[in-house]
Symmetry: C2
Subunit: 351 residues, 2 copies
Amino acid sequence: MSERFPAGELERFIAHVMTAEGLPGADAADVARLMVAADRTGFDAHGIFRLPDYLKRIRSGGINRTPKIGILRETASVALVDGDNGMGHLAVEYAVRTAIAKASETGIGWAGTRNGNHAGAASVYAAMPLAHGMIGIYGAVGGGNQMPPWGGTDLLLSTNPLAVAIPAGDGTPVVMDFATTVASMGKIRATAQRGEAMPEGWMVARDGAPLTDPARASEGLLLPMGGYKGYALALVIGLLAGTLNGAAMGEDLLDYAADVDRAANTGQFICALDPAAFGDAGAIGQAVDRVAGQMRGSEIMPGFDTVRVPGDGRAARLADREENGVPIPDALRATLDGIARETGVAPLSNR
Amino acid sequence: MSERFPAGELERFIAHVMTAEGLPGADAADVARLMVAADRTGFDAHGIFRLPDYLKRIRSGGINRTPKIGILRETASVALVDGDNGMGHLAVEYAVRTAIAKASETGIGWAGTRNGNHAGAASVYAAMPLAHGMIGIYGAVGGGNQMPPWGGTDLLLSTNPLAVAIPAGDGTPVVMDFATTVASMGKIRATAQRGEAMPEGWMVARDGAPLTDPARASEGLLLPMGGYKGYALALVIGLLAGTLNGAAMGEDLLDYAADVDRAANTGQFICALDPAAFGDAGAIGQAVDRVAGQMRGSEIMPGFDTVRVPGDGRAARLADREENGVPIPDALRATLDGIARETGVAPLSNR
């Protein structure tokens, strides 16, 4: 069971909790807004759901409450941002703003982060350039190694997500956001909670045999989307988001949920690309609308209800949640009520 | 059966044929070098194998023999290149050089092409920035719609490949290159020639049922790698390589192999990113070596022989072919001998 709360109320709650935990007020408000941006668009595993994990990390000294985020190196179109081990959302938003500013000058901007932390939903950041009429391309090193290289059994890769947002004309922007593993650990935990088996293809055991019992997930290896192609993509995203920035990747990567008192050195990258560099941005947006409309207008395959363009589901969830609020499952609400008691912050309320 | 020929001999042959067909000598030599770059690295379906298709298109008036390739629009870090309907290799190499030059100035360069044509293997272009110590990211709209959007049956998407090349230190560079479909039409044709069935997952019929008989491939729909994620990736690559550049995508895309007398308006993009913008390029290369070495050093899963990093196979094929020549199957050699007779060019020779 769940109850819905206005997104603004979730922001109020998170900002007050973060302030109570010692974050400066402006940073606390920014973190709250960026976390709830995931809840607003339906990425429920990356929004307020993460608050307990973040608090554990902040309280254990694994996150710097008062970071000085800034640019370590830059060229006309590229920047390397130091997150100073603050909340990851702050460093990534700083990087996105930097990339957009550079793209406004030169047509494209690329910013990488080091000394960052988990920053929530990839599409939150990929979609930020949309407000400036720009394309966003975002990649990140995920929060722990749960996947081996193709053909191996050593856990050396994370779910390294990729997100791309492309402005449309009158229509819904195209927003792609996926993990490069077939399933995320969050999805597997949810399957376990429902008492269901995992489909074959999500995980294998170390001997390569399919592993379908989610209670045995800790013994298992996540599989990459699309087999060896997904392995290649996860590795390349990790090199661009981690290694290139001097951030953790491979054996350096800690288990974000468990190893909470050390700096994670999470890395991300964001690229902003301005369609106006290619021609009339309005005409390009209309061309995107046309192609997207062709996809949506396709004949439907038996067994499917509709053909969607990436971003359509996000737009529908956004509209629903702006109107009706964000559903908070009862178990999460109980956890949040506990945090309210611990911090002296007023609990989530619908009044 | 096949016989091996030095890569330089393949280049000699293609350059002479292209000159005989009316391409200026310098363009013919460039096309030959870029086609054979695919053969040198083992992308056999994208090198000299394509010569008959290109000749059909040139002779039918579908390709401009004497294009004036140039920049239509540019900013400090972005360019839109007009291929003037010449051989696609020429426009894409022009775009790569433009992107590298811009990256040398600003840290990153992005160039898109319009009015181009099929340009061969994606990794040939993604790997060009490596010689300048730079990362290359390449995407293209494939040569014909063979895949529906996820949940649909209308053929609106091509195999839209993505390639990324990342410089290493002392080790082999990381070079990823894949189609966003599970299998390419070339792979399916090769399966048919061997009289084998396709594995489930390559194609479905219009009713969604698995299609495994390669002789029925023309009735079938290619499936995306990784299900809906691969659909999203194919669409996004098509928008960035096609729509953004004013090139063909979706319903506009013609069947490159069949519709040979009209301009294809093929689009591609290349991004060059300079690691030196992020720090000491040598140290970053060594960090790439370390991560790649961790992958190669993983324990092996039962059923596998080795763990490879994307680009390892390419490097091994390159070394073998530089030493021993490029294998040319007898059937292809007979076709090339026919072209030699038609054009008055000396046939491939080992002497």
